[in-house]
């Protein structure tokens, strides 16, 4: 496009430190707040990230102000905008909270002390968390201004961002709409934002051609070149928080904003208006649509923006699931098999739907959750037969703790408790089975479909898999061949 193209990389890197600085700032604080009385701070913290998601520019004045700022200064505008709107939101929250505290003090005079103190603590926690966020966000403004001030003429990436940022601005308020260049009737506001979205993607398409190779192994099927999207990196605490939406009045937490809105109705009639109940992002004043991608806060992870083959995550939910699955303890243990453990509760629930049901295994090592699927497979392939007594070995082995050691060293190992060694399954013939059982083990353990339980296959850190996949395949075929050749294979018929 133009020589500036080269600079887009630099530009991106410049913008990243802003965010990391912001995050660093934030992460330093939790220790400070680990006061016993505020023990639920971490769960109650209103994540700064939320501001990014549902930026509401309710005051035209501020919006205009921001716009003018953008025009004067050519630094990363969206981050700034986000931070500012976040600040604004937080200040409002703070205000409400203080109002609430004042209101409470009047109300609770007659109540038992315990209840009052509890309420008080909750409010305090909220208050502190908001203040912390305010400080951290405000602090992040400073370095971003510094770093972008000496920036070179806008890069392509910035063009994209600017386009995205500036174009829909007329839609922000009625007054500006009139200034619209086409001068015709005011189009529907949602349409406008659509147009802006299209615009951005078009730009992206243009750039895509240049960078296809670099992003080849992006598994989400999209090849966004660096810089054409905004990278957001939520904090660890935010990811792990059970709730992301909090009632500004009573502090109750919710997983979904919709639930919060439903909850809010109980706080007064003003929350029952259709406007209050409507989805926030459909509001006309929504932030200009810029493609957002997410980064994992875990440094060294491929999903972390500092990784040289960085692959962004699409949604905040992806980040959460990714982070929990990959970088957290698997604290949910399946109560049925007592072997499989999960860090995302939804994964556990998915697993529990299938756990305890027979795992249908073919002699080729392929597993099926349904018997008819296995039989369809066997009908299709000459010479394949179902493997025997998976259920027996499963039932008899129970807790197979001997595998547990693998978990730390090998991610793949940690999720392969489906087929415990057969050797232990048959008491009567244990001596004979022992040897064979071990050799056949890998076929059961490393059957490819085992990974299916983890819906987000793509969100696993690739490296441990990539390295070991070939060896799995070797083990698979190896053990199968072995059982074919060897007469003794039927001593351990449970697999071959």
């Amino acid at each position: 496009m133009d020589p500036n193209n080269r600079l887009s990389g630099n530009e991106l890197r410049n913008s990243i430190p802003n965010q990391t600085a912001f995050s660093h700032f934030n992460t330093q604080h939790p220790q400070k707040w680990e006061d016993p009385s505020l023990i639920d701070y971490s769960t109650r913290i209103e994540p700064p990230f939320q501001g990014f998601n549902q930026v509401k520019i309710s005051q035209d004045g501020l919006g205009n102000e921001m716009r003018s700022t953008y025009k004067i200064q050519d630094w990363d505008p969206s981050a700034m905008l986000n931070n500012l709107s976040f600040l604004e939101q937080k200040i409002h929250q703070l205000q409400e909270l203080v109002h609430l505290i004042v209101g409470r003090r009047m109300q609770v005079l007659g109540r038992p002390d315990e209840f009052v103190t509890q309420q008080q603590q909750l409010l305090n926690a909220d208050l502190t968390s908001i203040i912390v966020q305010l400080i951290s966000t405000a602090g992040s403004l400073l370095p971003s201004v510094k770093s972008t001030l000496p920036a070179a003429p806008p890069s392509v990436g910035q063009f994209g961002q600017l386009g995205g940022a500036v174009f829909p601005l007329p839609g922000l308020n009625g007054g500006v709409q009139l200034q619209n260049t086409n001068g015709s009737k005011v189009p529907d506001q949602p349409n406008q934002s659509d147009i802006s979205a299209n615009c951005v993607t078009e730009q992206n398409l243009n750039i895509e051609e240049h960078d296809l190779k670099e992003e080849e192994d992006a598994d989400e099927g999209e090849n966004l070149p660096p810089g054409t999207y905004e990278i957001l990196q939520p904090e660890k605490e935010e990811i792990l928080a059970p709730h992301t939406h909090f009632c500004t009045i009573c502090g109750k937490g919710f997983k979904r904003d919709a639930n919060l809105r439903m909850h809010m109705r109980g706080h007064g009639d003003e929350y029952k208006t259709p406007a209050a109940l409507a989805k926030p992002h459909k509001e006309p004043s929504s932030e200009p649509t810029l493609i957002k991608r997410y980064s994992c806060p875990y440094s060294g992870c491929k999903r972390n923006k500092d990784h040289k083959k960085f692959q962004p995550l699409k949604t905040i939910l992806c980040v959460k699931n990714h982070y929990k699955r990959t970088h957290c303890d698997k604290s949910y243990t399946c109560s049925r098999c007592n072997t499989k453990r999960f860090s995302v509760i939804a994964d556990l629930k998915t697993h529990e739907k299938h756990c305890g049901k027979d795992k249908w295994l073919c002699s080729c090592g392929t597993t099926f959750s349904r018997k008819d699927k296995l039989f369809g497979h066997i009908t299709l392939f000459q010479g394949h037969t179902p493997a025997i007594s998976v259920e027996e070995s499963k039932a008899l082995v129970g807790p197979s703790d001997q595998k547990e050691g693998n978990q730390g060293t090998n991610k793949a190992g940690s999720m392969n408790f489906n087929f415990p060694p057969n050797a232990t399954s048959d008491s009567g013939i244990q001596s004979i089975m022992d040897v064979k059982g071990n050799t056949d083990d890998p076929a059961g353990i490393f059957s490819p479909l085992n990974f299916d339980n983890f819906g987000g296959f793509g969100e696993f850190p690739r490296p441990p898999f990539d390295d070991s996949e070939s060896s799995f395949a070797f083990l698979l075929s190896g053990s199968y061949n072995y059982s074919q050749k060897n007469e003794a294979d039927d001593n351990s018929n449970n697999l071959a």
Partner: protein, 655 residues
């Protein structure tokens, strides 16, 4: 035999001797042959291709002696287990290393293996056996109730398998079946009766992999119409047995209308949901059907069904037990099904003299006729049958109370080839009738249960004229005495199965007559109150082949009889000692000494103490398969012995 002729016989070449040997019909003749001399014994062992091992202790040495062994029957050695085979195969394997070819000669050539009821066999033994016998074509593992998928997998290594019988292998599931059908693609005959774990999926796979299947038995399986849909794709299927498939209905049978082009026989009896319309569709599609069993599914023979039957020109067997049948139906059957050989009308409502006479007039080729519980039949009908159906071989007339000696006269006069007749509970049968009946000199099976008018005189006739009889049922024939048995023992030397229960007049003398019957293997003598230990001792000493003995309520039999039993009845497999005055010591002896004993009923033994039971069970615990005990003993016997019995796969029935 003069010395000269015996010399000539001995100078025959082995080839000629073999030819002579092959002419021998019965097992007893072959036994005599073996006893002639060493040369004859050698010919026997060189020629012999079938071996039925009666005592497991000889199994180790026997097979190696017969190099041309093709068929090995171990069905009466249910106590075989993995160890038996590992010993057998290792022994012969090591023998082959030292130059002998015995291992190869019997195991390599073995084609048929009967392991029925060998519940003690595990998959490892089976596995080793199948590997040792690479040319195995036919295996019978029926009633090995514990068999499951592992055993099926072991069997599946016999890739040449063409015939497989797995009746009542209760734990074999679709997975096990899949193993077999994938690896044994040449299967032609397969019986899955009572393999309750097998479902549509397994049957579906079977029909896709074993395209040569000619005979299939899926009786009592919980399969649905889907199975029949795939079964219909089997191009070579000739016989389909699906007794008591409760989930199959007419829709399933409709699949068969256009499938299985070679279908000749179908058994849909006791399929609750099948009606005549389903049968009609099967019949429409297969005009060359030979066998049709529709017992207990048709409430009534409707006209459309009869109309379809008309088309079955080749129909040989039809069973419509339990249906209501109108008189005109018989004329349809007799007019159109000219080649009928067997008709089953057991418990049919509406079977009249007129109907049977119409039937008899047309179906002159009839050989088997079952009229059980057709109470309105009289002599007229039987006379008509006897006059028309001269080839009648088997006639069942149980509970046909209006039959008199006239019928038997007709049968004796005209049905010279009659072999089996069931006259149970026909109170019209008397000595005169039996005299007429004895004209059927080929009679093999005669059932006279509850024919109270029969006395010794009748048995004289039978004994003197029916030498081939091998089964005789005299249950509750209270008119029978010792003399009748004397006549029987003189004339019916081939008697194998005899029921004398509640023939109260019989004494020890009668038992002594019975002891002359060397072929006798089953003897039921319940409630013979005049028989003492002497009588039992005579039986035990005389009837060497005795395998099944029922002594329930023989209250006079004392320990001397049981001691003799323990000493002589080495082939005894089943015994019922309930209500016998047997003592501790005698019980221990019986249970410990009889090495083939598998099944014992030991309830209400008033003279046996708990310790006696304990000892007796200990003595037989390693081979007994089934035992019936007085329920309170459950808490009196040591848990050790009970566990031991369970571990050996013995079923205990508490009474």
């Amino acid at each position: 035999m003069s010395s000269r002729s015996s010399k000539d016989l001995l100078s025959f070449t082995e080839d000629l001797l073999t030819r002579v040997y092959e002419k021998l019909g019965s097992e007893s003749d072959r036994k005599s042959w073996r006893l002639v001399c060493r040369e004859f014994l050698r010919v026997d062992s060189l020629t012999r291709n079938h071996l039925r091992v009666l005592r497991v202790e000889f199994l180790q040495s026997l097979p190696g002696k017969y190099p041309r062994l093709q068929s090995l029957d171990l069905s009466v050695c249910p106590c075989i287990d993995d160890g038996t085979f590992s010993l057998l195969l290792n022994r012969h394997a090591s023998g082959s290393e030292s130059g002998s070819l015995s291992w190869f000669s019997w195991a390599r050539g073995l084609k048929r293996l009967t392991l029925s009821r060998a519940a003690g066999l595990g998959f490892m033994g089976l596995e080793a056996l199948v590997h040792a016998c690479p040319s195995l074509e036919s295996v019978d593992v029926s009633y090995c109730c514990g068999f499951g998928d592992r055993e099926a997998a072991a069997l599946s290594n016999a890739a040449r398998l063409r015939v497989l019988k797995m009746d009542k292998c209760l734990n074999v599931s679709d997975v096990g079946l899949a193993k077999i059908v994938v690896r044994c693609g040449k299967l032609e005959r397969l019986s899955l009766k009572w393999c309750m774990e097998i479902s549509d999926l397994g049957v579906d796979l079977l029909c896709k992999k074993c395209l040569d299947l000619k005979f299939l038995d899926i009786s009592y399986l919980k399969v649905t119409n889907e199975s029949l849909r795939t079964i219909a794709t089997l191009q070579k299927l000739e016989v389909l047995a699906m007794v008591g498939c409760p989930l199959v209905d007419d829709v399933g049978l409709q699949f068969l209308e256009n499938g299985c082009p070679l279908l000749q026989g179908i058994d849909v009896s006791r399929c609750e949901c099948v009606s005549s319309s389903g049968l009609i569709s099967v019949i429409k599609g297969h005009g060359s059907l030979r066998e049709l069993n529709a017992s207990y599914i048709l409430s009534e023979l409707c006209t459309t069904f009869l109309h379809c039957i008309k088309g079955l020109k080749h129909l040989e067997m039809i069973r419509i037990d339990g249906s209501r049948i109108a008189e005109p139906s018989f004329s349809v059957i007799s007019n159109y099904c000219k080649s009928l050989v067997e008709i089953g009308l057991c418990k049919c409502v509406g079977v009249t003299n007129m109907g049977i006479m119409q039937l008899a007039s047309g179906c002159i080729t009839l050989r088997v006729l079952n009229l059980t519980c057709c109470g309105s039949i009289t002599d007229a009908a039987i006379s008509a049958i006897a006059e028309s159906c001269r080839n009648l071989v088997c006639l069942k007339l149980e509970s046909c109370n209006m039959i008199t000696e006239k019928s038997l006269y007709q049968l004796g006069s005209f049905c010279s080839v009659l072999e089996e007749i069931d006259l149970t509970d026909c109170c019209g049968v008397n000595d005169k009738g039996l005299e007429y009946m004895s004209n059927c000199s080929g009679l093999k099976c005669l059932k006279l249960g509850i024919c109270t008018n029969v006395s010794d005189k009748g048995l004289f006739s039978i004994g003197s004229n029916c030498p081939k009889i091998h089964e005789l049922d005299l249950y509750c024939c209270s008119g029978i005495g010792d003399e009748g048995l004397g006549a029987l023992s003189m004339g019916c030397k081939n008697l194998m199965k005899l029921n004398l229960s509640y023939c109260n007049e019989i004494t020890d003398r009668g038992m002594e007559y019975i002891s002359c019957l060397e072929e006798l293997s089953d003897l039921e003598m319940r409630g013979l109150e005049k028989v003492t230990g002497t009588g039992l001792a005579a039986i035990a000493a005389g009837c060497k082949r005795l395998a099944d003995l029922d002594l329930k309520h023989c209250v006079k039999v004392n320990d001397s009889g049981f001691w003799a039993l323990a000493c002589y009845a080495k082939n005894l497999r089943q015994i019922n000692l309930s209500y016998c005055p047997i003592s501790d010591m005698a019980l221990c002896l019986v249970m410990g000494n009889l090495t083939r004993l598998q099944d014992a009923k030991l309830v209400h033994l008033s003279n046996v103490s708990v310790d006696g039971f304990e000892l007796a069970l200990r003595a037989c615990s390693f081979r007994i398969k089934k035992v019936k005990l007085f329920a309170p003993l459950r808490f009196l016997l040591s848990s050790e012995i009970l566990e031991n019995l369970h571990a050996r796969g013995c079923k205990i029935r508490w009474d």
